[in-house]
């Protein structure tokens, strides 16, 4: 220990001797690592798996059952009500839920000003499929229409000022609903069940409404919707249920490869039957995409974070080169001292221990600098690319990896210079 403290003291002394080059080295390493870390944060969070134990068991089935003939079309990313009914006629999935999102206005009574809210209009299995935690109450007993809603924790607090509001009434647009459940803290990021068109980057919904009620009350999808025939989208409860009005996402849970295979076969049979019935003029094109692959499949990833990742990596490299350049200069100026120490009998391994002390100190300074730069950079990125702002938080894994990377970089930056200084030709340096 005493020896270690001695090494640290020597390191600090040599920093004090030439503070500017050292400060520049730290600065450059901090900036490089900070910028890299800020982007790595987004990259890591955006590509993280919100349901690691399930993301390969939840599937989005899509089928090209549309009333027009298209040879090279992919199946629409959104499904019609009738297609969902056909797809859910199978018992193979252990859970299944259709859903879409809509806008609405909520308040407790008509005299209050309306609060704009987002709705997820869905079915019972949604909550179990996506591991949604319930704080109070329960979900709907079946998938029928009913004037019952579940609230997010934040929404309950906002409307009622408390969380346990089971049995309370609220006015959603022009209709009263009773609250049967309140969620606990829940933020699925990225929100992969809604991956179409980068919606998975946005926060979750406030109020959950049964799918049938949503159709009955003519709630329009707030994201993507398309009509492939003459269906009047303002008549969701009637034409919308039968026509080619596409606006639904549909998820099924298929736990085993056998189930997945069986469901694929079911979809194929369905498409064939539809074709035979003349309702499927296009070639058969079924897709069954796992949740883990859905963002890639839709290809809506904005690419800015990826592009920036490439560039920050390059920047980190430059900073590393630069810092090692600076530190090489520093060590070469201290070479005389190194040689003197070796002349006085220090072994190379003792010099390497000294170097390790240097690395530790450098890593400590750099870590602080990198965290500060990283934080500032994240704030800046939130300003400039606000779409990704939900993905800017740090967790233990991220911080630990930053620590490791910082240490590795400090080591790399110190390694070659110190080797060169301690392995140089003793004779010649002393004579100089």
């Amino acid at each position: 220990m005493e020896q270690f403290i001695y090494y640290i003291r020597i390191s600090l002394l040599s920093i004090k001797r030439a503070p500017l080059p050292y400060a520049l080295t730290i600065f450059i390493l901090s900036v490089g690592l900070g910028v890299f870390f800020a982007n790595a944060t987004f990259y890591y969070q955006l590509n993280s798996d919100p349901l690691p134990h399930k993301s390969d068991k939840l599937f989005f089935p899509m089928t090209l059952i549309v009333p027009h003939d298209c040879n090279d079309c992919l199946p629409p990313r959104i499904l019609s009500y009738s297609n969902v009914q056909k797809l859910s006629s199978s018992d193979i999935p252990s859970a299944k839920a259709a859903m879409y999102s809509a806008n609405g206005y909520a308040r407790l009574h008509a005299e209050q000003p309306p609060v704009p809210v987002t709705l997820r209009i869905t079915q019972r299995d949604f909550f179990s499929m996506f591991d949604v935690p319930l704080r109070h109450g329960s979900v709907w007993p079946d998938d029928n229409a009913r004037d019952e809603v579940l609230l997010s924790r934040a929404m309950a607090l906002k409307l009622f000022g408390r969380i346990n509001v089971i049995g309370e009434q609220l006015l959603l647009d022009d209709r009263y609903f009773s609250v049967i459940g309140v969620l606990d803290h829940w933020q699925m990021l990225p929100r992969l069940y809604d991956a179409n068109g980068r919606n998975h980057l946005s926060p979750g919904e406030d109020i959950f409404l049964p799918l049938e009620t949503g159709y009955d009350l003519n709630y329009q999808s707030r994201t993507n919707s398309r009509t492939f025939d003459q269906t009047d989208y303002r008549k969701l409860s009637t034409e919308g249920r039968t026509g080619a009005r596409h606006m639904l996402q549909y998820w099924v849970q298929l736990d085993t490869p056998a189930q997945q295979q069986a469901y694929r076969q079911f979809m194929l049979n369905l498409a064939n039957a539809e074709k035979a019935a003349g309702r499927h003029p296009s070639p058969i094109n079924n897709q069954l995409i796992a949740m883990a692959d859905i963002v890639d499949y839709f290809g809506d990833d904005p690419g800015d974070i990826k592009a920036f990742a490439l560039v920050t990596l390059l920047f980190l490299l430059v900073c590393l080169f630069n810092a090692s350049h600076l530190s090489l200069n520093r060590y070469l100026s201290n070479q005389y001292e190194f040689s003197l120490r070796r002349a006085l009998g220090a072994s190379r391994s003792q010099l390497q221990q000294q170097m390790l002390a240097d690395v530790l100190i450098m890593a400590a300074f750099t870590l602080v600098g990198a965290l500060l730069t990283g934080y500032a950079c994240i704030q800046l990125m939130n300003q400039l690319l606000p779409n990704n702002s939900l993905f800017s938080h740090w967790n233990l894994t991220l911080l630990l990896s930053l620590l490791t990377i910082t240490f590795a970089c400090s080591y790399l930056v110190t390694l070659y210079p110190s080797l060169r200084a301690s392995f140089g030709n003793l004779n010649q340096q002393l004579k100089e």
Binding site: N103, Y105, D304, V311, V318, N322, L328
Partner: protein, 397 residues
């Protein structure tokens, strides 16, 4: 100093020179690509829109109760709102529309000449339902035909006539007069000059319009108005209150002029270009530090050498030039490698974002910027180095 000796000095310090070269190359690659991206964003933001961006205001809003979203209550609301807005001093014209212009995406559908559906079908063209003053608000020119004189009321059995922008008319009818032809939405009544509708359509100038109230306002609607240039700010300030006074049960999403809206549509590109620009500035700073410290250090290391040269008759300027020349040579070499790297980075970036390819003059410009930065950074240590006293530097230990 001869080029040969310069190279010799440079390459006698293999590791340091390699490090410096790599840095310079990467700095150039990054600089080049971020300028490209910034340039592209700039172009996107300055492309013609056919609109008076500064003096056209837009309000995006939605009735907050379901009863106001159905006719005839909706028609009444729209009329009252228009009337109130038109009464604000400084407003030249006001109109409602189912969606605003200069937006990311919105309402639209396929459009084709019904005589030649196969050949002319355009998969997605924005469809605007507007009130009759919409054209005055946007200040567009009527190029063919005549604008409808009245608003087709909601639910009218007669199909409203269609107005096309020049680009889409051209696309559908290939130079033939469009007025009187039938498209899947109805009979074409007029062709107007182009304006920027939605970014997601194939051509941002493709637009189709009908003078009729919005089919549905479940996604909100827009009120657009053009003001006297001097009164834009004043009008804008009053808008929210005027609209709330007409009907408090509305949600105002935002009020902005079209210039702001234009920026919002490209905010992602703008953000990325800004970030890259900041990163490039940092990169240049780091490169400058590197040049500075390398010159400083080597001048220190070579004090004796510089002293000898001074004794042999080199002037201060010669010494400074020698040091600068070393860095210039290094920069030139780095820039050369950087060009290759820039090409590679450009292609890699093109995989994930849209970025224009390299052109011939940008490498020259960026190399010049790099050279300037390196010169600036080298200047101080080089001038310090020339102050070496030859007398003391040439003395033995």
């Amino acid at each position: 100093m001869s080029f040969y000796l310069l190279c010799k000095v440079l390459f006698s310090r293999k590791v340091v020179t390699t490090l410096l070269l790599l840095q310079l190359a990467m700095a150039l690659a990054l600089l080049l690509n971020s300028i490209l991206l910034a340039q592209q964003t700039q172009q996107q933001l300055t492309q013609p829109t056919g609109l008076d961006l500064e003096h056209t205001l837009q309000v995006q809003l939605k009735p907050a109760t379901a009863s106001l979203r159905v006719y005839p209550a909706l028609q009444d609301l729209l009329d009252r709102q228009l009337q109130a807005v038109q009464a604000i001093p400084g407003v030249i014209a006001a109109a409602y529309a189912n969606q605003s212009v200069l937006v990311q995406g919105g309402n639209g559908g396929n459009l084709y000449d019904i005589e030649q559906e196969e050949r002319t079908n355009v998969p997605y063209v924005p469809l605007y339902f507007v009130s009759k003053d919409f054209f005055t608000v946007l200040n567009v020119n009527v190029l063919q035909g005549e604008l409808p004189h009245y608003t087709t009321p909601f639910g009218d059995t007669a199909q409203p006539e269609v107005i096309l922008t020049q680009s889409i008319a051209e696309q559908l009818f290939a130079g033939q007069p469009a007025v009187g032809r039938e498209v899947n939405l109805g009979r074409v009544a007029a062709v107007i000059s182009d304006f920027y509708g939605q970014r997601r359509s194939d051509n941002v100038m493709f637009n189709s319009l009908q003078v009729t109230p919005p089919y549905s306002v479940d996604w909100g609607y827009s009120i657009l108005l053009r003001t006297e240039p001097a009164q834009t700010a004043a009008v804008r300030q009053q808008l929210a209150n005027v609209l709330r006074a007409v009907e408090p049960n509305i949600e105002l999403f935002h009020i902005s002029n079209l210039a702001e809206q234009h920026q919002r549509v490209y905010s992602n590109e703008y953000g990325l270009a800004m970030l890259l620009a900041i990163l490039t500035a940092l990169m240049l700073l780091v490169t400058m530090i590197s040049s500075y410290s390398s010159t400083h250090f080597h001048a220190l290391k070579r004090q004796q050498e510089i002293g000898i040269k001074r004794a042999l008759g080199a002037t201060k300027i010669t010494i400074a030039l020698e040091l600068l020349a070393e860095n210039w040579l290094c920069t030139a070499l780095g820039a050369l490698f950087g060009l290759g790297l820039a090409l590679f980075l450009n292609q890699a970036l093109a995989q994930v974002i849209s970025i224009p390819p390299l052109n011939w003059w940008l490498p020259l410009l960026t190399s010049a910027i790099l050279l300037l930065c390196v010169t600036l950074a080298t200047w101080y240590p080089a001038s310090i180095a020339t102050r070496v006293s030859p007398a003391s530097a040439t003395k033995a230990l």
